[in-house]
Every structure is written in structure tokens, then in C-alpha cells.
């Protein structure tokens, strides 16, 4: 496999920020059925958005925390040309809820809380809990990889300029 990791990491770093911006736009504006291909799952913006904007003096970082994070202040930053660096999301599926933060730079997850699986009462329960937790992490990665694939397929398609125009309208509304 010929992949120059350090080169591609920096050269295509914009993909992560664009993905998070697109995801935010899609969650707020579009029919979730189209986004998730499943009527029983739901995704919403959580309690934190981090944006970053390059200025003449360096980098301006804006962190917005709290319920319904970012709807106003975030839009102001986007209008000024900021890009989304981190996005906290809530994912619901069949009465279960995951909350997590995705970082655009490396698509890593942090503050990930899965649905509750109870308490380990004895050592022999550990393997079962590990299997359950891994299943829950895997379910989340299934979602994220699916969304990212949807974004990348769109990003390399001829339809992308229309999406950029829609996001532009949303930001400047």
C-alpha cells in the first residue's frame, strides 16, 4: 500500500473539517432519513462545537459549549470563514443513546459515552461486558463510517458544487 501518511495527513486535512461542516448542515437542515438510511435512528448536535479560523495574527479558536451548542455563535464564526474542528453529537437508536465528540483532524472520538450496560459484579462477568461494550463502539463506528462514506462519495461527485452552494446559503441566511 503506497500511502504517504504525513503528506496526506496535512495535504487533505481539510476533509475532516468539511465533513463536520457538512454533517452539521445536514443535521440541521435535511431530512434525517436521507442521511441515515434508517428511520429508527436519529442524530443531533450535542453540547460542544469547536471552530477555527486563520487570521493574519495566527489562528482564532472558538469553543461553544452548552445545550443546543453553536447555533448562533457558530454561524457567526462560519460567516467569518471559520471551519469546524470538533463536533459533539448525540446518536439515538432504538431507545439507546451515544454521545461523543468527533475531531476533524483525525476522526478520533472523545468523551464517548455509550448506552448503559450495568455494573460488573464479579470477575467472570468481565468478558461479557467487554463484548457488549465493543458491540456498542462498533455500532457507533458503523454510523460514522457510513456518514463519512456518504460525504466522500458526494465530495468526489459532480453534485458537490451544489452542496457547497446550499451550505453557503445556509451560512449566509
Amino acid at each position: 500500500m503506497m500511502l504517504d501518511v504525513s503528506l496526506t495527513f496535512y495535504r487533505y486535512g481539510f476533509l475532516g473539517s468539511e465533513f463536520l461542516t457538512w454533517l452539521w448542515f445536514y443535521i440541521v437542515n435535511s431530512d434525517q432519513d436521507k442521511l441515515l438510511d434508517n428511520k429508527k435512528v436519529f442524530i443531533e448536535i450535542g453540547n460542544k462545537i469547536v471552530l477555527e479560523r486563520k487570521t493574519n495574527d495566527g489562528v482564532e479558536k472558538v469553543t461553544i459549549k452548552g445545550k443546543d451548542a453553536g447555533l448562533e455563535e457558530g454561524m457567526v464564526s462560519l460567516k467569518k470563514g471559520a471551519v469546524v474542528k470538533e463536533l459533539n453529537l448525540i446518536y439515538r437508536k432504538e431507545e439507546k443513546e451515544w454521545s461523543f465528540t468527533v475531531t476533524g483532524e483525525n476522526l478520533s472520538l472523545s468523551n464517548l459515552k455509550t448506552p448503559d450496560i450495568g455494573f460488573i459484579e464479579s470477575k467472570k462477568d468481565v468478558d461479557g461486558f467487554v463484548v457488549e461494550k465493543i458491540f456498542l463502539y462498533d455500532s457507533l463506528y458503523f454510523l460514522i463510517d457510513g456518514l463519512y462514506k456518504k460525504f466522500i462519495k458526494l465530495r468526489v461527485s459532480t453534485g458537490w458544487p451544489n452542496v457547497v452552494a446550499d451550505i453557503n446559503k445556509w451560512i449566509n441566511f
Binding site: 500511502l3 487533505y12 483525525n106 478520533s108 461486558f129 465493543i134 466522500i152 451550505i167
Partner: protein, 204 residues
């Protein structure tokens, strides 16, 4: 941070290539090759190695103890010692004064100063207990994917070094481009288009 914690961080890696058959045996040997070993008499400030997921302070990779549901589950332990620079500076001054008095000279050469600093630092690090940090690892061999339960930069670097030294395999970090290129099953045409992308402007 453990995979069973109520709140976790995860970094993903792609494991390049396949390891020598029988896989279970090779993984066991790799883990045993760099198992964490206590080094109380070592003045270095860092000590790292593999440990058991279910017994962080007494590693044992016998049988298939590191296999859960066809996944390899183990942990990386990194012990670190730290001494305040102010304490090093104080002990260095005391030791330097002692040397000057013993030698009857009014100065120490650059090499002597370096030697004193090393001795002082080593002596202090020997006295200080190391702080253990344990990070869980889940390796899905069939999918060539590894989850590392920390976003800490130095812990991730230690993982990459240790993994390569143990299993002769490289870990490729999953980030936006590598995920698209490796994991999403894009067509050759899509991968070509991906490599030609440049940033979009969402505002005029």
C-alpha cells in the same frame, strides 16, 4: 483510559499486512517479547510495555488469555517518573559546591557540569516512584483494525513504536484521507478523484 470506562477516547489504526501463522502464537510471542517489566533500579524516566487487559500489574499472556470473542484485547502500560526542575536545580547546586570544595578549584568544566547533572538526575529518578498509566487495545485481526483507547499523543506514539517492534507490522493512523483511501471501499475512479481534491470555500 479503559474500554470499560463510562467515558472513553478512541483512536483507530489500520494494521498493514498479515502476521505469520499460527496467528495466535505469533501475537502471544509479540506480546511476551515486550511485556511490561518493573524496573525499580532503572533511573530512566519512562518504562513501557504490554500488559494484560484484566490484570494490569501482573501481565500473563498464557494460552488465549488475551482473546475475547476472536479479538485480541490487551493493554499498553507506560510508567513515567517526574521530578520538579527546581529540585534538580537545588541538588545540582549542592553537588556542584561539594565538588568545587573537594577539588579546590573555582570552576567546573562543561563536561564535569554535565556529569554532575546526570548523576543528580539519576539519583533523584531512582528515589521517585513511577506513575503507571494503562491504555487498552482492541485488535480486530480479521478486519486489520486496531482501537487504542487514548488520544494522548505520546501514548499513541509509544503504541506505534511498540507495536512495530513486537509484531513487525506497521500501524497506519486512520485520519480523513486514510479512512477514505483504505476503509470505505471506493472505486479506483473515486480514489483518483479523491487524490485530486482541494479545499472548498463555504463562504465567499
Amino acid at each position: 483510559m479503559g474500554l470499560l470506562s463510562s467515558s472513553v477516547s478512541i483512536n483507530r489504526y489500520y494494521v498493514e499486512g498479515k502476521i505469520k501463522e499460527p496467528v495466535l502464537d505469533t501475537v502471544k510471542k509479540g506480546l511476551e517479547k515486550l511485556t511490561f517489566r518493573e524496573r525499580d533500579d532503572d533511573p530512566s524516566n519512562k518504562n513501557a510495555g504490554w500488559t494484560s487487559f484484566n490484570n494490569h500489574f501482573n501481565p500473563n499472556f498464557s494460552g488465549s488469555s488475551f482473546v475475547i470473542n476472536e479479538l485480541f484485547v490487551f493493554s499498553l502500560r507506560i510508567d513515567k517518573k517526574s521530578v520538579s526542575p527546581k529540585i534538580i536545580k537545588k541538588n545540582f547546586s549542592v553537588e556542584t559546591a561539594k565538588r568545587l570544595e573537594e577539588s579546590g578549584r573555582g570552576y567546573l568544566t562543561a563536561n564535569e557540569k554535565k556529569e554532575v547533572k546526570e548523576q543528580v538526575t539519576d539519583a533523584l529518578f531512582l528515589m521517585v516512584p513511577a506513575v503507571p498509566n494503562v491504555y487498552d487495545v482492541v485488535w480486530n485481526y480479521e478486519k486489520s483494525i486496531l482501537w487504542f483507547f487514548s488520544n494522548n499523543k505520546s501514548a499513541n506514539e509509544e503504541l506505534e513504536i511498540l507495536f512495530s517492534a513486537s509484531f513487525n507490522q506497521s500501524l497506519i493512523k486512520i485520519f480523513p484521507y486514510s479512512e477514505a483511501d483504505i476503509l470505505l471501499g471506493l472505486t479506483d475512479k473515486e480514489r483518483d478523484l479523491l487524490s485530486l481534491l482541494s479545499p472548498s470555500k463555504f463562504v465567499e
